[in-house]
Amino acid sequence: MTIADETFFAWLDGELPPVEAAAVEAEVARSPELTLAAQEHRAMQARLKAAFDTVADPPVAQRLPAAEVIDFADAQRRRESRRWGSPVQWAAIAATLVLGVLTGSLISPLRSGPVDVRDGKLYAAADLNDALNNELASAPAAGASVRIGITFRDQSGAICRTFTNAKSSGLACRDGARWQLRGLFGAPEGQKSAYRMAAGADPNLAALVDSTMAGNPLDAAEERTAKARRWR
């Protein structure tokens, strides 16, 4: 090459000032060797970028095409809230939140509402906590804001319960005397039936339940017994 490698690539990357860039461009145009090198390197970069771009779409978003993950406190604060503007935005947040919930290590800014943060873990609070403690799927309380779906034990033996309210559904498992949230999924806009549908009917929640559950769900009698034992 008649041009220094550094200069050639700086030109290729658009890093040269205009006058210098024009000089290099002319030189490249005169040289079949440089023209080929420019083509090869452009193609290589495009291929590199395309390959790595596949992981920039979070898999969470790919698995949740029709749902959004929300946080209760936020939903409460803006009951009539706007929607997230762009799918990319909520996908990113969904990925963050789900990642955090799964590992229990995301320090969330939530401070009030039905979700409480302790030691970086998300726990049920207020109405949600009450419902998880007291409600029976076999005998739902009239007018309850939170509906319990299924109750089961996870691989560690902890009791887990799915729940649904007007805006979201999720899974909480017993952690000591509290209910730790393992996942929280928002219902797609306008899908009022989310409230009524059997917990677990949300495909994302169903998948989470599937990967969490050991054995079969508790039946009505077992659910009552588990409640009497304070979900231990």
């Binding site: 990357d13 390959a51 596949t54 936020d74 990113a92 963050t96 990642l99």
Partner: protein
Amino acid sequence: MDPSSFEHQLGILLPRLRRFAHALSRDAADADDLTQATLERALRSKAQWQPGTRLDSWAYRIMRNLWIDTARSRSRKAKLEALPEEAAMVGTDPRGAMDAAIDLRRMMAAMQQLPEEQREVVALILIEGFGYREVCEMLDLPMGTVSSRLVRGRTRLLAMVGEQ
């Protein structure tokens, strides 16, 4: 969540951070561990970020430093184990239209063949789209060093994966 909040902005950066992690790491599991560790570190270090400065450069730098801390110590051993498979994979003819997702494995393997200091520069400039000067600032390196590492790294990459 407040759209201007630190947490929200970090959430938006997450896909890009994940991509950078894949460019640095040997496999997807390591990349996801690195992404998670970076998020945790960033959230814990929130007070150290100065509003008004670029959050992306700050977060990328955290990831890069974490990667150096954790990955370097084990990379020597891992590299020895990984060589035969990677060597077999790099340079195989793609044959026809290649799906980008499949190509990712090949590209990750090729990136792993680069010395670390070339790999990070290639990742930041060619994949993440940072300018030379931004990378100099992020890595605390002079321009000459960044551009010569970039030349060597991309030239080697092309030799490994260049299309016929």
